[in-house]
Amino acid sequence: MRKLAGMTATTPLPAVADLVNMPEAWRTLLHGLPSVDQVGAEQRAAMLATRSIKTTSKAWALDLAIRMVDLTTLEGADTPGKVRALCAKARRPDPTDPHCPQVAAVCVYPSMVSTAAAYLAGTGIKVASVATAFPSGQAPLEVKLADTRAAVAAGADEIDMVIDRGAFLAGRYSEVFDQIAAVKQACGNAHLKVILETGELATLDNVRRASWLAMVAGADFIKTSTGKVQPAATLPVTLVMLEAVRDFRERTGRQVGVKPAGGIRTAKDALRYLVLVNETAGPDWLDPAWFRFGASSLLNDLLMQRAKLATGHYSGHDYVTLD
């Protein structure tokens, strides 16, 4: 975007080239996206939330949801012991049922990456690490890049970065773009999830713009929230992000994943998100490679509902492990 295709130094219209090379070109692009009517988006999300998922489709969806969980602990009090317990849970979410699938990833702070990587080696479960001065993103770029490199060096497969919401809200889009692009480079082979922190972006128009900005800058995933700001993930916000990845693939051919995170606690919520995926971005996204849930307590409710469906009765909170 900093230099549009076809615009070379030999272009006979230097004035136009100057125009599209200005940082304001980002504004032109992002504000040229179709706007979002909040009332309509909320109505659509609410309608899809009435879908009734029962019996066989519920069983299928619950297993898929478990496979999409990024089991997360992001606390100041995290210790190797806590992370170890979480990894054990990730490997065997339901110790009583060997058919219960594994989760997609374990998500921790950079300092815990090596611990998690050790416990998850050979399982296929990814190690995800937040980085770039999570959760505020208010640090110099060099610090953010060092944070990212350290996490990758310690064994992170996926990096969950936060965007600089201050720069975004101030309209310094090219700065946000440059930072995401730089972090993407620092990731090397690790997948990059870009956290928009939609609770601070406030409007759905901003959510759509930030989604596009992140995708153009190289995000492999766009993620709603850090979980540290309210509101975190909501259905309307996720709807707009799913529309963005759908439209982006249509335009560019590149598929980007979506991860709602924060506040998704019940299996019912998870099923609503899966319906939203199915009827917005489409079935291509119904895969842990393209859709994740950032959550901690969600997994236990998924397990309880799964057991209920298999046995016909609820087992109760003492029959799922607390980690």
């Binding site: 179709p34 706007s35 979002v36 009517d37 009332v39 309509g40 988006a41 109505q43 659509r44 009435t50 879908r51 009734s52 998922i53 029962k54 019996t55 066989t56 489709s57 519920k58 299928w60 969806a61 898929l64 529309e243 899966l274 319906v275 199915n278 009827e279 079935p283 119904l286 895969d287």
Partner: protein, 477 residues
Amino acid sequence: MTFEYAPAPESTSIVDIRPSYGLFIDGEFRDSIDGDTIKTINPATEEVLSEVVAAGPRDVAAAVEAARRAYQTVWGTMPGTERAKYLYRIARIIQERSRELAVLETIDNGKPIRESRDVDLPLVAAHFFYYAGWADKLSYAGFGPHPRPLGVAAQVIPWNFPLLMLAWKIAPALACGNTVVLKPAETTPLTALVFAEICQQADLPPGVVNIITGAGETGRHLVEHPDVDKIAFTGSTEVGRQIARAAAGTRKRLTLELGGKAANIVFDDAPLDQAVEGIVNGIFFNQGHVCCAGSRLLVQESIHDELLTALKRRISLLRLGDPLDKNTDIGAINSAAQLERIRALSEIGELEGAERWSAPCPLPDRGFWFPPTVFTGVSQAHRIAREEIFGPVLSVLTFRTPEEAVAKANNTPYGLSAGIWTEKGSRILWMADRLRAGVVWANTFNKFDPSSPFGGYKESGYGREGGRHGLEAYLAV
């Protein structure tokens, strides 16, 4: 990987359909004096649900007589505060029995349970609550210090929103102190008959509400009865004309809510994803059996292709099938006759050169079904752009400037509703001033509220229902 939604049918055990029904006259169900019987069927399965009376002239006379007596002895003289209590009670019973009524509406009409449950029934209850609130405040409604009721109201309603249209008719009539004789449509009489039970349950004085079933002939006897003071009709423009002729030269007050061919106008700065939702909701809500349906899509030519691609993608996701399944978006066409009309007009659309596209959805073997269909390349001269199809068929036209959009939108004998999709507030106001339509929606469509008046321009009828304005049709002002 495909996410199949397993069948999630709403249970029908909550409804108890009797094998036959009499007429609800003077507070009780009575056998017919001189009527025939008609069968009402489930349009999704073609199963016979029940037998109802096609009331004859003497039945009609008995109902009008009961209504007159109730008007003179009880209801017309009752203080508004007391009338309000009955209306509130009816509203509460409707809420309590809303699941039963929603299931029954879906069985008899063919509309998806999601709509009868989430749209029809909440609006029905809201309408009674709203007008209950007016019953003791009529002196402050702007129609003089002591506005008087008219007397006996003859009300004839259509099959597309059976119970909701009943509420639109009965709630304001009763709030203003009139008594009513209401005839539901011949294909959808069942929820009106349960409403009769609700009147009994609410201890409504006998004769205040009378429900007589039947077809067009019964309706004719009712509106032509000499002791009727007021006629309220919702239905086709053709029947509306006949009623207007019959009422001409009599003392009867008349309000008509007739057909429509609404323009849904999408500008290039519209919120596209929500506009697509609004277009789908505008034409496929209730299988397009909506008088204010957005059946003409006027799209700014510069975004035509982009919008149509998004629209077809969205329409392909619509789930057509068992109306009782909670995940069904498109239910059954209400009757064989209506299906025939939709098919005939669609064929004419093709013959006249418009390009037809239907959603790739399988249709059930039994029952009446029509897939969501879009015609592109439609011009103002095509019959599918002029005539009301009353089905899930959208005609797409283009425009270049706001002036042209207004001109095309208004170029119809109808004028019930219109929709505008743009992010420019000033353009919404500019358009709304120029559109000759009773309702203009901005960045939404098919939104209803009891406090908002509804009614048409031109051949879409006259009079307003809903809101403070809706009182006027039932008061001697």
